[in-house]
Subunit: 141 residues, 2 copies
Amino acid sequence: MKQAKDVLMEKNIQPSFHRLKILKLLTQRNIHPTSEEIYLKLFKEIPTLSRTTVYNTLKLFCEKRIISEVTISGKEMRYEYAEEPHIHFKCRVCGNIYDVDKNCALLDKKILEGHKIEEYHIYLKGVCKHCRGKKRPENKA
Amino acid sequence: MKQAKDVLMEKNIQPSFHRLKILKLLTQRNIHPTSEEIYLKLFKEIPTLSRTTVYNTLKLFCEKRIISEVTISGKEMRYEYAEEPHIHFKCRVCGNIYDVDKNCALLDKKILEGHKIEEYHIYLKGVCKHCRGKKRPENKA
DNA sequence: TTTCGTGCAAAGCATTTGCAAGTAG
DNA sequence: CTACTTGCAAATGCTTTGCACGAAA
């Protein structure tokens, strides 16, 4: 795994303390946090952190294609550090988001019906393997 | 094509004037309007229409699985009347959303890595065939 | 010294909610 | 009469913006 500092330097972004913290948090495997989740988690370590900085940083990282937006929820934006496109699954019972199987022929296509494809966002919804056995599955999200 | 009135009756929804108007608008082919677009369009014919009614109706239709939510934009919710799952493409230059090719093996799967799939949302982003020839493509959305 | 990173507070925008009035069976 | 549909206005929640302070190059 590339060093967080190098990732930023390569994109001509000053590797400030806050930016490094936010990027390191995002490089954890299989997480898709909201800006609020990022803020709350880092706030414990950095009590001076502001939501604005989190938003500014996420916006900057998205523009520089370091992270990508996950719009699976429709309610709030989620973010992930993704080096290659993959598929997301959201469980309507527990609300968890899982990364699943990458072997999708669709992901290889660069042109489809004449349109140039730059980004793939594949969102599946249903009931996850952990919730399928539950007696009374209730929608959480 | 089924009659709008019958679609609602089958789901035990009173086919009120407003509901029929909203449903009929949504059954047009290949459109993915926001609630605001629906409101503005219908407001011309129905000056007493309120945004609340549009929201209430869209929520009801979603719950009854008559329409589905399209979260491709991340900014605002879009809606569509979709009888079968398909793929959406959003052009970052003109902002238009296109329905594309349905032949995706993924769409046949009911179970993936143990998770039960109930909904498919496949969003592609890039530059559409109409904008690819433009001199200075600028992001619109 | 000039630019950049940060943070507060206010504003913005899409959506939801509480409640009251009107309508239909 | 009773339940449902509608609409206004206020509230909510996520995100953006304006602006000022302070640190870094």
